[in-house]
């Protein structure tokens, strides 16, 4: 192994190495860390973020950014709670992901027809979506104390939270989509070299719209898990989630320049952030250091991936 190879290996699997190191450290420092209960709780708490980060992976591979998924999450939260209270709880759970899909589709249309960078377009649409969510909920909490609504976020199947099952299923479907289908191939090519993709007869706008629609759907799906768990729909739900999702994707090692990446990486990124959080809770360290540490970890991850981009 030459030094370059070692470095390349470290760069490729940095996130997994960090996870392993952190798990060993936390197990040594606290008895309550390495328990099935604690680990399952971590997964349960982070399932919504993991679902959003999985879909964000597609958006970033296709060469975009979606800063509106937090706002779509808010729309999903308000829409599902409102429908649950006023129409039917099951309909609320069922429809919110499709509300997300529609909003994501609108994002894609805005980006491709106006030809603006997704970064700008989704800042604008985030404000619009958030505004609609505030207007719909009248700025208040919509409380839904119905078992027909809360089963999704609180219940378990075969001893494991429903949210974890949903997360695993969603990540597997996206992985399949990305690695085994022609759609996935097109996603990589659009992000890797859009001009080459166009000249290969690919309708690149459709691919971009689809990626943003999937990200919207994921935000809607994530929102029903959280909303049904806390039994409250509100327009401030999901604030900052878009940045956490993007941070997790980058932390996992997906290239911010597009064209390269994988869903498992984003899951690992979410898990790494969650472990840091969990560690601070278990060891009850001042939360100030938590943000500081997270920031340093993300900076290190971005720096590490940038080293490979040079030359």
């Amino acid at each position: 192994m030459t030094r370059a190879k070692v470095f390349h290996f470290l760069q490729t699997y940095a996130v997994l190495i960090l996870i392993a190191a952190l798990m060993i450290a936390l197990s040594l420092m606290s008895d309550s860390f390495l328990t099935g209960r604690n680990l399952l709780n971590i997964l349960n708490q982070n399932a919504p973020l993991a679902i959003m980060a999985s879909a964000m992976t597609l958006v970033i591979i296709v060469g975009g950014f979606d800063l509106s998924v937090g706002a779509i999450f808010a729309m999903g939260s308000v829409a599902s709670a409102w429908l649950a209270v006023n129409v039917d709880p099951y309909l609320g759970l069922l429809l919110a992901p499709f509300v997300g899909l529609a909003l994501g589709f609108a994002n894609g249309l805005a980006i491709t027809t106006l030809r603006v960078h997704s970064f700008l377009a989704t800042i604008a649409t985030a404000l619009i979506f958030k505004g609609i969510a505030v207007a719909l909920s009248d700025g208040r909490l919509i409380s839904v104390r119905l078992d027909e609504f809360t089963w999704l976020g609180r219940g378990r199947f075969l001893g494991v939270f429903n949210s974890v099952w949903l997360m695993v299923a969603f990540a597997l479907i996206l992985t399949f989509l990305l690695t085994r289908t022609t759609f996935g191939r097109r996603v990589f090519s659009v992000g890797g070299n859009e001009e080459a993709a166009i000249l290969s007869g690919i309708r690149t706008n459709r691919i971009k719209i689809a990626a943003f629609a999937i990200a919207g759907f994921a935000a809607g799906l994530a929102s029903i898990i959280t909303t049904s768990r806390v039994a409250v729909g509100q327009a401030t739900a999901g604030d900052g989630l878009e940045l956490q999702a993007i941070a997790a994707v980058i932390l996992g090692g997906t290239s911010i320049y597009g064209g390269q990446g994988a869903v498992w990486r984003s899951l690992a990124g979410v898990f790494l952030l969650a472990l840091v959080n969990n560690g601070f809770n278990i060891l009850s360290i001042d939360p100030f250091f938590r943000d500081l540490t997270m920031g340093l970890i993300i900076l290190a991850a971005v720096g590490l991936s940038a080293v490979g981009q040079r030359r």
């Binding site: 030459t2 990589f188 890797g192 290969s200 064209g259």
Partner: protein, 502 residues
């Protein structure tokens, strides 16, 4: 020779990862010489130029300036020692003026406040060197040849005694090349040295005093230009005695009309009244830079909006999208390999299959075995190296990348193949493979259109050649009757006639 070397290197080696790009290079640059650095693509000529200019760090070996060994050799150190490098991609600030670019980092100031003396200083510098530019023009508004003059002036402003020029003529017209050579000679006559990295043999033979030939990262020899010819250089580059690239025999046995284009016009200037290519026929487009050759090709395949009629084997294309053209069997290998052709972040397999995903999938799910078989067949057919279906194209040499790109478009068994600059920036070996493949495809009945800035290539491959000017086919010539010089003269003639008419 009595003159001591201005810049000399001993045992220079450069490693990128596991690959030795250069090894054991000894080289002396004398004061007042134009020193040509040539070799196939991937031979290391550009890397050596970059090491000399301080842009790449050598992994081994030593560099000395006027006999003094240098322990630190990066761009600032090289500039201090009087060695400047002019990159192939020019390093200018487009929004700044000529004068501001020339004196970038050397501005006269008082406590950080600019004194605005750049234009006046540039006048002095231009007077000394004889290079003339408008000091107040912004760099972005100038042609590449003029921008190169800025780079040369910039080197002179830094008292450079050695200027490394990395492939400076790649984007220049013939007359601009002549002018650049004149500048090089003038620099030499002042006692400065120019290291001229290029893959155009005629250019080095024209201007260089001595030529160093590299092969596979090693130096073959350094010799006086007077003792070299095209043939000796090519054989040194290739390692075996071999004359210049031979073109494949031309197929004269043409079948039915396969591609037929009528009244094709596009907003970016294409106006082709009629173009027909028969099965097995190779048609060429020759034209000057910016003559609109690529635009015609793009209009034909539907990459740019265009009106008019395009038919394949008598069937008129109704849907003018690229996907429909590919489906109908018309494909184009684009000119810009990295910009328009390959997805550098994807492996060889994925690049080759990209336009054919529909054919190697069932209900949207990829058939991986079929994809690998497809890629493997083309790797074999085109002798792509390294021969790995999962190979990382970003690490491939220019020639092998070009073969991957060609393979990508051959994978669908096209009826009409348009090649835009099929051998731009590739080594002699890859060029031969590509030409042989063009000949073979023609003999199998594919209708081929070759577009190339190298007139020699168009004449060598095609049986009919059109001269292109401003998006129009202005003349048709028989490549067996007309020579390169005559074609060039005709192109300049059409260009000037067109200009006065316009």
């Amino acid at each position: 020779m009595s003159a001591a070397p201005l810049l000399s290197v001993r045992g220079i080696g450069v490693r990128f990862g596991d690959v030795d790009v250069l090894s054991g290079i000894d080289l002396d640059i004398r004061p007042g010489e134009v020193h040509g650095l040539i070799g196939e693509n991937g031979a290391g000529k550009s890397s050596l130029g970059k090491v000399l200019g301080g842009y790449y760090r050598a992994s081994s070996g030593e560099i000395s300036v006027e006999g003094r060994p240098q322990n630190r050799w990066d761009t600032p150190a090289a500039l201090d020692a009087g060695v400047a490098i002019m990159h192939q991609e020019l390093q200018l600030v487009p929004a700044l003026t000529v004068a501001q670019n020339v004196f970038l980092g050397l501005e006269e100031h008082r406590h950080g406040i600019l004194r605005g003396t750049e234009a006046a200083r540039l006048e002095v510098l231009m007077g000394q060197s004889g290079l003339r530019l408008d000091p107040h023009a912004t760099a972005a508004s100038l042609t590449i040849a003029e921008q190169q003059k800025i780079e040369i002036l910039r080197a002179l402003a830094r008292q450079a005694r050695v200027i490394v020029m990395d492939e400076p003529t790649a984007a220049l017209s013939k007359s601009e090349i002549v002018q650049l050579h004149r500048i090089m000679r003038a620099l030499r006559d002042e006692g400065r040295s120019v290291i001229y990295v290029t893959h155009f043999l005629n250019d080095v033979l024209d201007v260089a005093d001595r030529i160093t030939v590299l092969r596979n990262g090693k130096k073959v020899r350094t010799g006086d230009t007077a003792n070299e010819t095209r043939e000796t250089l090519v054989s040194a580059m290739l390692g075996s005695t071999k004359t210049d690239t031979l073109y494949p025999p031309k197929s004269r046995d043409h079948g039915e009309v396969v591609l037929s284009v009528q009244d094709l016009t596009s907003p970016n200037g294409t106006a082709v009244q009629r173009l027909e290519i028969r099965a097995g026929e190779v048609v060429g487009f020759a034209g000057l830079m910016g003559a609109g050759r690529s635009e015609i090709a793009r209009a034909i395949i539907g990459a740019d909006p265009a009106s008019g009629e395009v038919a394949v084997s008598g069937r008129v294309l109704m849907d003018r999208s690229i996907a429909a053209a590919t489906e109908a069997g018309i494909v184009m290998v684009p000119e810009d390999r990295r910009g328009q052709g390959l997805v550098i972040s994807s492996p060889v397999r994925a690049n080759i299959s990209l336009p054919h995903l529909g054919a190697i999938s069932a209900r949207g799910i990829m058939a991986n075995a079929r994809e690998r078989a497809l890629a493997l067949g083309l790797i074999d057919q085109l002798d792509i190296r390294p021969a790995m279906v999962d190979g990382d194209v970003s690490n491939y040499s220019g020639g092998n990348q070009q073969k991957v790109l060609l393979g990508k478009w051959l994978a669908g068994n096209p009826k009409v193949l348009i090649l835009d600059e099929p051998s731009r920036g590739v080594d002699v070996g890859a060029r031969e493979t590509i030409h042989r493949e063009i000949g073979r495809l023609a003999s199998e009945g594919v209708a081929i259109l070759v577009i190339s800035s190298e007139i020699d290539e168009v004449l060598g491959l095609a049986t009919r050649v059109f001269l292109v000017d401003r998006g129009r086919l202005v003349d048709e010539i028989d490549p067996d009757e007309v020579g390169e010089a005559e074609v060039l003269a005709a192109l300049f003639h059409h260009q000037s006639v067109g200009e006065t008419a316009a």
